[in-house]
Amino acid sequence: MNPPVLDSAPANQLQNETKLKYQIDYGKAWTIWPVFIWMILLFLLPMILVFAVSFFSRSSFGGIGFPLTLENYSRFFDPLYLKIIWISCVLAFYTTICCLVLGYPFAYIIARSPTQYRNILLLLIIVPFWTNSLIRTYAWIVLLRTEGVINTFLLQSGLIEQPLSLLYNESAVMIGLIYTMLPFMILPLYASIEKLDRSLLEASKDLGAKPWQTFWRVTLPLTTPGILAGSLLVFIPSLGLFFIPDLMGGSKTILIGNHIKNQFLTARDWPFGSASSIILMVLTLVFIAVYIKITKDKQGKDLV
């Protein structure tokens, strides 16, 4: 194991072997150093900076100053902020459950469809996932707002007399989140259902299990890694997507993401905003650690 540095030239360069080694180390320096330096300066250093700022106090001009304090963290136990975390987690949790309930049968259907259609069916799931999430959120606003497509349609068909208020509530935020996150749930579910050995299901059936028993005792346990990976991929980003609550929830729904954004840009309380980000990051890493421990997916490969 060598450090990623330009190793000193070997004393005897006459030997071809040694010369080659020297050159390869040269290659090592040129391939590894740029990424190392870049990620240290623009990923690690900023993270350390946020961590450091979270222990400072807010100065009167909205900057950071002394004394060093733990108050930014203890402030989080104020009922107001605990409620934000609670609501965020509950909303993200509901989003995850809805995605799971909607996505599981769907992933199952695709994984059991004829092989020649499978790729195209999957591609159709990935396509909306590649389009801008902000635009997809906007698409729902076009549908749900008071003068929107759904209300116009219902009014014209005479089903309702007053437009419904579909936007600017928690259900709207949930719809936005589910819509944005659903593909993240379906893809890992599909991967694990597709891997499932069908002979196990047949064996279960031959041994007299009813379909729901086979599902509950064989299919579900064997696809748990997919369920967990999908849940994680939906849950974590749901906590931070501030623009969906911003645009679809009016000012009523405040999630951790919105709270952090507000601390940095509106309240200009950087130390508190930093502490909140650290808490969000620790929360995320705990979830990932639990996931890795349960599934023994050592590199977290199924998540990337």
């Binding site: 391939t31 990923f43 389009t131 801008n132 076009v142 497509v149 819509y179 993401g257 590199q299």
Partner: protein, 259 residues
């Protein structure tokens, strides 16, 4: 062939999910051609909103910003990321685990954390927010994805070809350019298109590191949506959807073409 009840239900369910995924986008596109500005009543077909868009200097400015940032950050991230993928495939070195973590974490942590940490960095070192900070941020979040894609491409790589080139007298650099790069070229190209798409579409990180005069297209859309719904936003969104889909389809085709 008659379908069983279970098959019919499966078909129905899958169709409903696809409807859920595509209907909002389809309606968004449809209404970019509607004459009425105020509500969702269809009053006639028009290209007016697209023409209006082409006269909106702020939108054009944002388009330019998005393109410049995406181009520069894609080139830089693809270069750094490809080199990294090659190096990490070839060599063992101290700190490899740390580097792996530094490339894995940006993909899994919430984007907002990365956004505010970059904002903290730039303001701490008094770097004014603008093109430079946007480009630096976009390079940073693109690199990990480039590494993932190129590394996947390297997985089936036969190293003896490189060794043969060097035995025949090629320099390491010559071997890299003339042997390694052509073999992994589809991976590099796919990763570049991915980086470009990520950059063009990014909202959260750009939100924190863009200056007042360097709004990207998604940020422009964000502020327009805050003022209310208008067919002009529909038209702009439609254009962005078309560009993204175009890029992704090319990227997928390159990636799927095996060896």
């Amino acid at each position: 062939m008659r379908l069983s009840l279970a098959n019919k239900l499966s078909f129905l369910y899958a169709s409903l999910i696809y409807l859920f995924l595509y209907m909002p986008i389809a309606i968004l596109i449809l209404y970019s051609f509607n004459q009425s500005k105020l509500n969702a009543v269809w009053t006639g077909f028009t290209f007016d909103w697209y023409l209006k868009l082409m006269q909106n200097t702020e939108v054009l400015e944002a388009m330019k910003t998005s393109l410049v940032v995406a181009l520069i950050s894609t080139i830089a991230a693809t270069m750094i990321g490809t080199l990294a993928a090659v190096g990490m495939y070839r060599y063992q070195f101290r700190g490899k685990t740390a580097l792996d973590a530094m490339l894995y974490l940006p993909i899994v942590i919430p984007e907002i954390v990365m956004g505010i940490s970059l904002l903290a960095l730039f303001s701490q070192f008094e770097i004014p927010l603008g093109y430079l900070t946007l480009i630096a941020a976009h390079i940073t979040f693109s690199i990990p994805f480039v590494v993932v894609v190129v590394r996947a491409r390297m997985a089936g790589f036969d190293r003896s070809i490189e060794e043969a080139a060097m035995d025949l007298g090629a320099t390491p650099w010559g071997t890299f350019i003339k042997v390694t790069v052509p073999i992994i070229a589809p991976g590099i190209l796919a990763s570049a298109l991915l980086a470009f798409t990520l950059s063009i579409d990014d909202v959260i990180i750009s939100f924190f590191v863009a200056g007042p005069s360097s709004s990207t297209l998604p940020l422009k859309i964000f502020s327009m949506v805050k003022f209310g719904v208008s067919p002009e936003i529909n038209a702009l969104s439609t254009l962005m959807l078309v560009v993204t889909l175009f890029l992704v389809i090319i990227a997928e085709r390159i990636r799927m073409r095996k060896n």
